[in-house]
Symmetry: C2
Subunit: 153 residues, 2 copies
């Protein structure tokens, strides 16, 4: 974590998910379970050199983890799997998805739905307090911490 990182954590996150190819790769990995180089390529129609560069950035950011796999008679290849940070990024992508579906809708409705894995119940993204109670947006405030004054913008 060096001094060139933006002081605002939202900005640091956008520095990762805000780049278009990076975000599309992460969407395939996190929402669709894509893991192999060739699968990313065919799902996104991305040039191999661009895909390699973006995957390197994503692995360096600690969001996907690179593994080797080998199929019979073939040379070793790489696959990419969500880390804990990658799994938690699902909350961010789901929040963006939910907002887009509600406030920038497209004719025909949402193309991807959020459901529980057990009983197929609908799931939304929202605020939850430390007693595990959901909270409305109006019930939440953003306050400056003691660290606020100690860093320069």
């Amino acid at each position: 974590m060096d001094g060139t990182y933006p002081y605002c954590s939202i900005e640091r996150s956008l520095g990762i998910v805000g780049e278009r190819w990076t975000f599309l790769i992460l969407r395939e990995a996190l929402f669709n379970g894509v893991s192999r180089f060739a699968e990313f390529q065919s799902a996104l129609g991305i040039a191999p050199n661009v895909l390699t560069a973006r995957l390197t950035t994503i692995v360096d950011a600690g969001v996907l983890e690179k593994r080797e796999y080998k199929e019979d008679g073939a040379r070793a290849r790489s696959s990419y799997h969500p880390t804990a940070a990658g799994d938690q990024l699902k909350v961010v992508l789901a929040a963006l998805q939910q907002w887009g579906d509600e406030f920038v809708p497209r004719e025909g409705g949402p193309t991807i739905l959020r459901r529980t894995t057990d009983g197929a119940r609908p799931v939304r993204v929202g605020f939850v307090d430390d007693a595990e109670r959901p909270r409305a947006v109006e019930d939440v405030q953003f306050v400056r911490s003691e660290a606020y004054g100690r860093v320069s913008p």
Copy 2:
């Protein structure tokens, strides 16, 4: 909602919050309660013509609402206030903030904290099912809707 909109709702949302000045303006408006042109200017050090252009985009996107106000002896001026869409965008910015604070941390810790307005309890962003039960990331899946096949990427 015309046909030039990206088919993916995450991408449509990133089209709005992903632009750096737009995001910084929204952060001031939604997290810090900034509403007046001059306040945005001094908080961000942004050039007036850039600020005017970005505010127009944000108002057109339906995220902030423009109002006129007039102080004694001064000409009418504009202020900008969150719409319902703007209020819900707090969930998106808070999700980005939470992820950045956890996985791309900065020395000294978070500068902005999420708290309930009533009792100052900590608040996180997470998944909530339709019975208002918080759900872990592992308990959520993303499934394609019937609309998925009907639109072209």
